[in-house]
Point group: C2
Chain length 542, copies 2
């Protein structure tokens, strides 16, 4: 076939490509805004080369891994570029993990170095003791480092920039842990091509351009924020950051930094809308809001559209194993009325970079509207789970990822997840979809958050049970919730009991309500749950 | 590093991905419009599987090559999908080639099968005699096939669809010949990833969506049309076709088929604007017009903007070796006045998928505004030239393509090609840029096409010479052209002679004026041309 010289790794795209373009095309434009701290692309480019030099001096070599344990910041963004610049791979740790889980992730990924900020540097000693492969820590906070820990600010002053040790294509970009709540977390190995292709798809879906200001609000260790951030990077947009989610602060930052695009999970959107400042703040800058991790309830969608009528709403659906893009539901399908209204309950259509099929256990494609498992293939399919060949072989079949999500597809390729059918209460022989009851309860003006689960019941097998968190300052009783439902839906669907909680419900790293944890507080929860799932269920990405 | 199962070829994207998505998401929408013939995506999907079955029965196996010699049509579009569906690679032949050149391309690429339409089936016998590897021809026209040649229409009726033999990632997608005008044509081997990444970048640049109707007007053997067509495919847009360029017909088709996007070369745009129907036709459907292969003269740009004020104008700059995207100049930079006006003379900024540097002979990056050679890398870098390891090694260096184009880059990453400086007349020690003189001549109302070259002159070394084609029906004299210039520019820049020609100027496959051919009609043209080129010049992609 003649000469074939374009080596794969060389000829393909690395995640630093966006940095090169931004420095070349927008050197004096603002790259990052974190509070009062702003940097241009020219400055960021210079810092990345020196940051990589620091990693190199700390003994990080090609294909080594560097972990980070921190809240969102401009430094976190630089981490995502400096590590590949040095030829290494990123390991962004879930900051909601316990120290035991963190040590597991550091050891499992083989991380050589750990970056910690103010909130987490107190764990550094314990983690170094528990992780023999860890050679050191670097402090990336804004206050004072713990005794003896080198401070990134000082190191940047003292370290010259290095040439890029370019990784690209199928080279490992990073290891991202899925936050299974019961099983051992699995480290998803993603290549540069995996993440780049998802990011370019998301760029096209969200129509990012260089004038956008993207806000990193969801946790940066997670790819829901990650893929949008990388899409913003590819388009040379500006990056703004808030350390952690707090609705009033979010409103302030959107208004002050003139944020144009962000991604939130539905629970965050609920909290945002419940904040009184939403009505007085000038949020006219915001053009697009993506949500992920869970569908929006009808009520929340209605309130979002009413409160932010000029904002385009997108749903992103994916999982870490797909870096993470599977499908997107665009603004034209986020409508409350008319013939397209039902589509707001779908997870959208396969995005540009992927092929999706609804398949049976053997991978055979099902007819439209038949429920099966979502299988996905494309350039974003993970390399595999680290140290878990058996688990990898179970989900990666002939180049397809078996997502573990049950769904059907309509005649126009819209994907309807029936995870919600798995998330169902079977009471007295009747099936009750939790989402339906949650939609009704959420519409109550005093409700901030709610979850509906089945709890064991001698008479009914399972009974419908609601766990409800009131709005701040609101009073709410079990009887009021039950009465509210009885006015609005069939009796068998109504909760027979409700807990009113003052604390937020337990959330996964990405903001999904951890119903498994809620159910675990009730005895004998597992005795009949397996019959309703049409497919085998894997521990899902958060 | 643990299990790594996601094989490269399997896990990456193939060019059939867009077809899968369109059939899934828009099965009843119109996929192709060719005259009165319309097909839905569902029909096209079915035809592709059967078309691939025909290829298989004709002996085409995995990684074999299938050539096509045809004008634009919906069948040409299906060819681009059916061949990879059958596991093979496409060889789209330049229909402006002589039979000798065609035989060279078929032999060089190792094509097994040749598809021919009405215009070219007369060459089939001669090509089969000259190409021992060619096992047969298939007629894809709309009239009657030559004696004994199988007709695609009949074969489609008789052949069941086959399962896709999926090729993707670094697998060969096709071999595209660069139309060097003196040297032997070089077959550029492009992978699926090469073409897919360029197409996804172009999709994001041009903001294609499923409601677009893309017109294949430029020749489909060439990637200038190809990359836009593939971008349209990835976005599930509709494809319209015109067989060959004719300005009146183009206007009719845009109006009738409600075309939203197309790509033309500047000479085609000139002819389009010169057609009287442009002012009466309803072209309100057209939202975007891309041009490629050559910059627009200031005058042509002005007339385009004035005639089509609602149309977004894009310039695409690339070469076949880059599948073909290098940079794009967007509508915001196609302005005639104000501080950005000079940018319309640039080739834009590096597109999403690539990194561009202006480098010296050793690949070292030059300072901004210094002239060097354009080097490009990214996932679109070709696999290599088929059968030409030495030529491949000369242009593919450490993963970068040396484009052979001289350029400088401004502070915002805009690339200014100084091919135009190479395309310069040195007369009496003064440098005259041909483009400058051409801009002046083009502004004359009676001029349809012009080219300015240097021709040998005893006194001046070289003299400025114009070759001019008048508008249809217009009268024009040498003296009039010279006088027109003298009123508008310094005397040394004015042509000292001009040929008025009734025939169009010779064009490359992509519509560039072949100045080399014009110069060859004058003696001793090479005696002093090499000193002005700051870099070594390779035969460029068309």
């Amino acid at each position: 076939m003649g000469a074939c010289i374009g080596g794969e790794s060389i000829a393909m795209t690395g995640m630093t490509l966006g940095l090169h373009r931004a420095v070349q095309q927008r050197p004096q434009s603002i790259a990052t805004i974190f509070g009062a701290r702003k940097k241009t692309w020219s400055e960021v480019g210079d810092r990345i080369a020196r940051f990589a030099g620091i990693l190199r001096r700390a003994g990080v070599g090609r294909d080594d891994r560097v972990a980070i344990l921190a809240f969102n910041s401009d430094i976190y963004f630089e981490f995502y570029l400096a590590v590949p610049w040095a030829g290494a791979a990123v390991v962004p740790l879930n900051h909601r993990w316990t120290v035991t889980e963190l040590a597991y992730g550091i050891n499992d990924s083989g991380s050589r170095l750990l970056l910690v900020d103010d909130a987490f540097c107190r764990h550094a000693g314990e983690l170094q003791a528990a992780c023999s492969g860890l050679r050191g820590c670097i402090y990336i906070g804004d206050a004072e480092p713990p005794d003896g820990m080198p401070d990134l600010r000082d190191l940047l002053d003292d370290t010259p920039g290095i040439d890029e040790d370019r990784r690209a294509g199928s080279d490992l970009f990073g290891i991202f842990y899925t936050s299974g709540t019961t099983a051992e977390p699995k480290g998803v190995m993603l290549s540069h091509l995996n993440v780049w292709s998802s990011a370019l798809s998301m760029l096209a879906e969200m129509r990012f351009d260089a004038d956008d200001i993207y806000l990193h609000c969801a946790p940066m260790f997670h790819l829901a924020d990650g893929v949008n951030g990388f899409a913003a990077l590819l388009s040379s947009a500006t990056h703004a950051f808030i350390k952690t989610f707090e609705p009033g602060h979010l409103i302030d930052v959107i208004e002050r930094d003139r944020v144009t695009v962000t991604i939130l999970v539905p629970t965050m959107i609920g909290a945002l809308l419940a904040n009184p400042r939403i009505r007085s703040a000038d949020l006219s800058c915001l053009r697009a809001l993506q949500y992920g991790a869970a569908p929006m309830s009808d009520d929340l969608l209605r309130r979002t559209i009413e409160t932010l009528p000029a904002v385009d709403i997108y749903q992103g659906f994916g999982q870490t194993e797909l870096a993470p893009v599977i499908s997107v539901l665009g603004p034209e399908d986020h409508v409350l009325d008319g013939p397209r209204a039902h589509r707001s309950r779908s997870a959208g259509q396969a995005s540009f970079c992927v092929q999706v099929k609804i398949a049976d256990q053997n991978g055979n494609r099902m007819a439209r509207r038949e429920v099966g498992e979502i299988w996905v293939r494309g350039p974003n399919v993970m390399l595999g789970y680290i140290n878990k060949p058996d688990e990898t072989a179970r989900v990666l079949v002939d180049g397809w990822i078996r997502t573990g999500d049950a769904a059907y597809m309509d005649g126009d390729g819209y994907i309807y997840i029936v995870d919600r059918i798995k998330d169902m209460v079977i009471t007295g022989g009747e099936n009750v979809a939790s989402i339906e009851v949650e939609n009704v309860i959420s519409a109550h003006p005093s409700v901030a958050m709610c979850a509906v689960i089945g709890v064991p019941d001698e008479k009914w097998g399972e009974k419908v049970h609601a766990v409800v968190v009131p709005q701040p300052g609101a009073e709410l009783s079990e009887a009021e919730i039950i009465a509210h439902c009885k006015e609005r839906m069939a009796g068998f669907k109504c909760p027979r009991s409700a807990d009113i909680r003052s604390q937020p419900l337990p959330l996964s790293g990405s903001g999904k309500i951890l119903k498994r944890e809620l159910r675990e507080s009730y005895p004998d929860r597992d005795h009949h749950r397996h019959s309703v799932s049409p497919t085998k269920t894997y521990t899902k990405a958060p």
